[in-house]
Symmetry: C2
Subunit: 288 residues, 2 copies
């Protein structure tokens, strides 16, 4: 399987948003499958630390690019960093998630999230796909979220940006298939990371439903208390790259997401609002 | 009904993307319902012409703002133009739709579409919603598209941007409800406009299915040959503002869209790909 993965997506993976959590796991899993990895993140120290640990563990080359994905010069920075590399796998994992009511979050932060969640993935796909098409092989994965399939309180531009990535990935999936380039998006649910674990502390366990429930709200709430390890997302994504436009790392996420898409839209939004209310962090001012 | 409309959404409507097609109809219908209208578009002559005809027909005030929605100063321009107005209804109808394969369309055009379809609606909602919230009444409508619910060939960033608006509107719908501000998005299908009518000439009538079919591809293709008048979109949008986060102007669009959301994603994308193939304008290089 490793040989096949390298043949399809090697020799270099480029992971944007690579220093922690899911991005670190995506970098590590790419290395485990035999790819060299170029890791991009903003914070130089954390990036160097994670890159060092990947380099130590696997017999592959690891490079780093400390850069801000909101930098207007991002295309040039990535072009320079990849000039001598054959990037066969591009993973866009970065996101900006301004939490809070739309009107309570500064406009600058909302627009930053549009840049990082929408504009930059467009820019980097436009830069990195043509050489893959020319070679007739490669892979592109946009890490989206179950949050992208409905509006919900407190994550206005984040959810909207995740919807953008989901639908963009679907178009790229069908347009690039003829060139042998695989595209997918993964709709991620609760995943252990320093940020998520702090958020988890604010959950009300009394509200956190049952995983075996047929009620998608119950099931979605139960997932909050049982975040997956980032490694599960990385493995699921690479296993399913090439199998369709959308994938999930967890059967409960897939269940909730499909139920939600089949609902009337007011009920879908109410469902995610109900999930949100499981947390005491951001008070909900409106009755469900 | 007119009095009620004015009480909820008056005295001024602001329509962004107002000079032609759906935007002109939205301006005219707002005036018919008793609102004064501030009309924004880029092309000064066409805007003045349309504004003149609205002013002639209805006993309301009509102002114009010739501005580019991609202008980085757009917030200031709109702020100045609305400084002495009580805007109770904000309609965002503008869109940039670069047609063609993702890799064949210049990056600049793709990023322009992200600005106009994602960033600017965020900016203008952030500017125009707070006074509505303070007054405890108002309406915001984002004009989206059935194209936003799935990827499809040739409309990569357009469809993704329409998904952004759809999900953003859903969040605003639930967040602003408590303040008495109504938000909705309309998922528009084929609508008569100079652009659409030129496109319609490229359709293969042999492929254009039946409107009474239970097959959503058939039904979607049939809609292409029967575009609705822009007035139908305007009436449907204002009639349904206040009734839920998402609405449609045509029962066939609603049928197709709900079927599509309930499908596996590869089938949803294939459906829109099938609709696209009805046109001979942009050749499809891949077998379905």
């Amino acid at each position: 399987m490793t040989d096949d993965f390298v043949r399809k997506y090697g020799p270099w993976a480029f992971v944007a948003g690579a220093s922690m959590g899911i991005g670190a796991a995506l970098s590590r899993e790419a290395a485990r499958r035999g790819l060299n990895v170029l890791m991009l993140a903003r914070g130089e120290d954390q990036l160097a630390h994670t890159a060092h640990s990947v380099r130590d563990e696997f017999d592959v080359e690891v490079r780093t690019l400390a850069a801000d994905l909101a930098d207007p010069a991002i295309a040039r920075l990535v072009e320079e960093a990849t000039a001598d590399l054959e990037v066969g796998l591009f993973v866009y994992n970065a996101a900006v998630a301004p939490a809070g009511r739309f009107l309570d979050v500064d406009l600058d932060k909302q627009l930053l999230s549009v840049t990082v969640n929408c504009a930059t993935p467009v820019t980097l796909c436009h830069l990195l796909a043509p050489p893959m098409v020319a070679r007739g092989r490669g892979g592109i994965a946009l890490v989206s979220s179950n949050g992208g399939i409905a509006g919900a309180v407190n994550f206005s531009t984040y959810n909207a940006g995740k919807a953008f990535e989901w639908i963009l990935a679907e178009t790229l999936w069908t347009e690039l298939a003829e060139s042998g380039v695989d595209v997918t998006t993964i709709l991620v649910g609760a995943t252990s990371s320093p940020n998520y674990n702090a958020f988890k502390e604010t959950l009300d366990p009394g509200l956190c439903g049952r995983r075996d429930s047929d009620d998608p709200l119950d099931r979605a709430r139960a997932r909050l208390m049982h975040p997956n390890p980032p490694e599960q997302v990385a493995t699921a994504l690479y296993d399913q790259l090439g199998s369709g436009p959308v994938c999930w790392a967890d059967p409960d996420d897939e269940f909730v997401s499909k139920k939600c898409l089949a609902m009337p839209r007011d009920e879908a939004v109410a469902l995610w609002r109900g999930v949100q209310m499981t947390s005491t962090r951001v008070p909900d001012r409106q009755a469900l």
